[in-house]
């Protein structure tokens, strides 16, 4: 029996992203069972969602235009994260999206920097990153398609106003025929194969479907009712479990980055859009006014004919802003493996394999920040440094410390330069570097770095400020 009707439980961003994608790509009838309440479908109820550059791919898939999304939702652009107070010194460092610098022949940029640093020079990655230089100067415009200038290497994400974004997605999906029904599921009725046949909803309705998506955030309204619905808890690696958010109206030009500042028991994030400034405080200590989360994942992400997406599937400490990225990946993966009937054990096995790899790699990226912090003498941070490490991350850290290289696996959310930028931001300096950097005259390396920086500075100087850019697009619209 083919999949004809899809029921999506949860009314948040995750649900509407899935609804829009499935409405565009499949011929199925789609119902969103809107459970109401706060939107924690991505994991935490943020007012501003800071995304990775993969948002562009997701929008392509959804048939959305970034520029239009930004305009219609009052959102803004983002080029990376500023990290402060993660090391012993009070300085700040920048983790830009995308690559830093440029290789010289076969030698990677980090090795060139290592060579010069080894000779006592002080060289910063951020000074050779297009994203960091743009972020610092507040200048930005999306690179035009097909450009051959250095601007084509710029990768950007978005700072989304979650409420407006959700409404926008809902309008788009509704226009494609997606139906919204109110109410929360109270009971699942299973068929003879052990698949979900129908949902009983607290409005008294009985909802039938062939495929069910659980986008209900931590409540896990479907997944938690399935047999063998275990949860793999990662709080031994990611100790923070409390988050408090406070958003205020702001019409100041928004910075092109999120600022992540470590504090005594965790960290806080400042992120702005065109209309909001949100402060998020994440910590280990209980907060009566806050929201609780547990880092980890459910054991079976796709079980039978039910797939958990977003916070319902997994939550990773929001330090690295991966939750919306996971939703995009889940949607792309589901489309690639879209089942031809309700029972799909082969598709589910492959979906789960990829998703678990992805979650573990991204978890490790977040764990790195805690594990390699430099705040010695602070109890919380001392404990983080002493905590156990997943084996893969231990290998990644040891390899970087050894030779400045990164060991990447299947389904990485972060590529080599994300890892290198964070290693460097945390003050880790490799013992060795690519031997071929030694085969080059020092002045050739210095000239290369100077040229890279000059080309970038010139490109940055040619851009408007983000504020100017956004105003000019409003005028066009």
């Amino acid at each position: 029996m083919p999949i004809e009707k899809i029921v999506i439980v949860g009314g948040g961003v995750a649900a509407w992203l899935a609804a829009l994608a499935l409405a565009r790509k499949t011929a199925c009838a789609i119902t969103v069972q809107d459970t109401g309440g706060i939107d924690d479908s991505l994991g935490e109820p943020f007012a501003v969602e800071t995304t990775l550059p993969s948002i562009s791919k997701l929008h392509d898939l959804l048939g959305l235009d970034n520029e239009q999304v930004v305009r219609e939702t009052g959102s803004s652009y983002a080029l990376g994260r500023a990290l402060s107070n993660w090391t012993a010194t009070a300085g700040a460092a920048f983790h830009p999206f995308g690559e830093v610098g440029a290789s010289l022949g076969p030698v990677g940029f980090q090795h060139l920097v290592a060579r010069l640093r080894g000779e006592g020079q002080s060289v910063s990655f951020a000074n050779h990153s297009l994203g960091a230089l743009c972020a610092q100067s507040g200048r930005f415009a999306p690179p035009p398609a097909g450009t051959r200038s250095v601007l084509s290497t710029m990768e950007y994400g978005l700072h989304l106003n979650v409420a407006e974004y959700r409404d926008y997605l809902k309008r788009e999906a509704t226009a494609l025929g997606v139906v919204t029904l109110p109410g929360s599921p109270t009971e699942l009725m299973m068929d003879a194969q052990g698949l979900i046949a129908t949902l009983a909803v607290d409005t008294g309705e009985i909802i039938a479907g062939d495929l069910f998506l659980d986008c209900s955030g931590q409540a896990r309204l479907l997944s938690s009712k399935l047999p063998q619905s275990g949860f793999e808890d990662w709080s031994e690696y990611l100790p923070c479990s409390h988050v408090r958010t406070s958003a205020s109206m702001s019409s100041a030009p928004p910075p092109l980055y999120a600022h992540i500042d470590a504090h005594e028991n965790g960290w806080q994030r400042f992120a702005s859009t065109q209309t909001l400034l949100e402060e998020v405080v994440v910590s280990q200590t209980a907060d009566p006014d806050g929201y609780m989360f547990t880092s980890g994942r459910i054991e079976k992400l796709w079980a039978g004919n039910c797939i958990a997406i977003g916070g319902a599937a997994a939550i990773i400490d929001p330090l690295a802003s991966t939750q919306l990225h996971f939703v995009g990946m889940a949607i792309a993966r589901l489309l690639k493996l879209f089942p031809h009937e309700r029972s799909a054990p082969v598709e589910a096995a492959e979906y789960n394999r990829q998703t678990i790899e992805e979650l573990e790699n991204a978890r490790d990226f977040a764990v790195l920040h805690y594990k390699c912090n430099g705040r010695k003498g602070a109890a919380f941070w001392d404990e983080c440094r002493a905590c156990a490490l997943p084996e893969r991350l231990a290998h990644k850290i040891a390899l970087y410390k050894s030779c400045g290289r990164t060991a990447l696996h299947d389904e990485e959310s972060f590529e080599a330069w994300d890892w290198i930028s964070v290693f460097d931001a945390l003050g880790i300096r490799p013992r060795g570097y690519d031997n071929m950097a030694n085969g080059m005259p020092k002045d050739r390396i210095e000239a290369h770095l100077a040229q890279v920086r000059n080309v970038m500075l010139k490109a940055v100087g040619s851009l408007p400020t983000q504020h100017e850019y956004l105003q000019s697009r409003k005028a066009v619209a």
Binding site: P106, D410, G439
Partner: protein, 502 residues
């Protein structure tokens, strides 16, 4: 920690692996204070018979600055668009694994999904008719891929088939010009450091002792240093790849010059045919538990297209991989690192990859253990993924006509491969990974070529009507036919670019 550069590098063994390593290191390490030595013995033969490669070899040659026409003339090379596999899925079957994908995706859904749907409906031509490189190969034609990315003629890649002995000679001249010192002689003894167990020096038959900091073991199957001296261990893969012998012989070309390699399945193994400019390399890879050496030789010779040009060359091997390809100060490259039969022309690619990784993780005298750890992790992945791809060729068969085929058809396979095959069979989805040289297109070619067919439609492809799809498929097929016949014959093209041997 200060870097403490090593000084002396000793490559043990000539042949393709040894001279590729010598040439690459002499080029990439130029300008630094290294001494590169290579020991080889004229008495010890090399295995290279006639090598077929994969497109990556072009990057290796380009990096070293080889002129392609000159390289081809001197190694008597031909162009290669893929490999033809005969009698694998069933006796009488023939398919080509090309360097290029089938068709093009339609409506965001991959081509092979649409093809499978139409094929189930009985409305598709054989899948190879939607591949330009296969149509060109079948017609004996070749031209360089076009540079215009919008042209159909830009959608394939190519490799070479060449005389490995001549390639080694070509590399040797290059390496010696760049300061590599060659020593003639047989190694009779190896001295290890009493404390670290590192290799200190090797002694030649004439009494000369050669010491070095880094040793690259290119001694072939024997693994003179990596196994003989360091006992690094070997993972035996014969349970999945049971062939353990080969017999090889060249013959003269009889007929037009084909731009592809052929692998024909036999009763207890398979026979390769590699066309070079001046002759054809032939060899029979077989499993000694199922066929005698004499019968294997007879099976090879009886099907030659012309008289043999040399004596039969007998080889023995054990399929598998060295447990530590980099152990202490020895890095094994080539057959000393592992043996995977040349069914998909992977040997030279694995050498190339090993050289690249050695340069990436090039050691200094601190001998940071993480370098070898990561090198070994990455090489293990590559070997295992090639292994799975090779096993697929044997296992995905309907043949039940000999005990050999009954064994490989019914043997338990690695879980990683079982999962891949199940996923493709269910819905045509190719499971892919970050590392591993064979991409989706290669897996699809072998699956479809060996009758592993998707059982179900891709639901997302059903938005396109059958009649629209039929029209699209027909137009892709026509375009491939026209393009394939718009390019010169293989032999003409080799002459046109001045790549023919003088």
């Amino acid at each position: 920690m200060a870097q403490r550069p090593i000084k002396e590098i000793l490559i043990v063994g000539g042949g393709t692996a040894g001279w590729m390593t010598a040439a690459a290191l002499s080029h990439m390490l130029s300008g630094q204070d290294y001494e590169i030595h290579l020991i080889e013995s004229a008495e010890i033969g090399t295995v290279g018979v006639g090598e077929a490669t994969v497109p990556h070899i072009r990057f290796f040659n380009q990096k070293l600055g080889f002129d392609e026409a000159d390289f081809m003339a001197k190694t008597k090379a031909t162009f290669k668009l893929g490999i033809e596999f005969c009698n694998w899925g069933r006796k009488g079957d023939s398919y080509i694994h090309p360097f290029g994908a089938f068709g093009e995706s339609i409506g965001g859904v991959e081509f092979h999904q649409h093809w499978a749907r139409m094929n189930r409906a009985g409305a598709a031509h054989p899948v190879e008719e939607y591949s330009l490189p296969i149509m060109a190969a079948r017609a004996g034609r070749f031209a360089y891929p076009a540079e215009d990315p919008d042209s159909l003629l830009s959608t394939y890649s190519y490799a070479f088939q060449f005389d490995a002995g001549l390639y080694a000679k070509y590399l040797r001249a290059y390496a010696e010009e760049r300061g590599v010192t060659r020593h003639e002689g047989k190694i009779v003894d190896v001295t290890l450091d009493g404390e670290s167990g590192f290799v200190q020096s090797v002694q030649l038959e004439n009494g000369a002792v050669i010491a070095a900091d880094l040793f690259v073991d290119c001694s072939g199957f024997r693994g003179l240093l990596i196994e003989g001296a360091l006992e690094s261990g070997y993972d035996n893969w014969q349970q999945w790849l049971p062939c353990d012998r080969a017999v090889a012989v060249p013959c003269a070309t009889n007929g037009p010059l084909s731009p592809y390699t052929r692998a024909t399945a036999k009763d207890a193994g398979w026979i390769w045919r590699i066309p070079l400019q001046h002759r054809v390399g032939n060899g029979h890879v077989y499993c000694s538990s199922y066929i005698s050496d004499d019968d294997a030789a007879e099976a090879l010779v009886s099907q030659l297209e012309s008289e043999p040009l040399a004596k039969l060359n007998q080889l023995r091997f054990v399929t598998g991989k060295r447990r530590k390809q980099w152990n202490k100060n020895v890095v094994a490259i080539g057959l000393s690192a592992g043996f995977l039969e040349p069914l998909e022309s992977t040997s030279i690619h694995l050498i190339q990859l090993a050289i690249g990784r050695l340069l990436d993780f090039f050691p200094d005298k601190n001998w940071d253990p993480m370098l070898a750890t990561e090198y070994n992790r990455l090489m293990d992945l590559e070997y295992e993924r090639v292994r799975d791809f090779l096993i697929l060729h044997y296992h995905a068969t309907e043949r039940d006509d000999t005990p050999f085929w009954n064994y490989v058809r019914t043997m338990p396979i690695p879980d990683s491969l079982a999962h891949k095959m199940a996923t493709f069979r269910e819905r045509g989805v190719v499971v892919n990974y970050r590392d591993g040289m064979f991409l989706d297109a290669s897996w699809i070619a072998v699956y479809l070529g060996q009758r592993v067919m998707p059982q179900h439609d891709d639901p997302l492809g059903m938005k396109i009507s059958e009649s629209d799809l039929r029209a699209r498929l027909n137009s892709i097929r026509d375009d491939c036919q026209v393009a394939a016949h718009s390019i010169p014959s293989h032999a003409d093209f080799i002459r046109q670019i001045g790549a023919h041997a003088h």
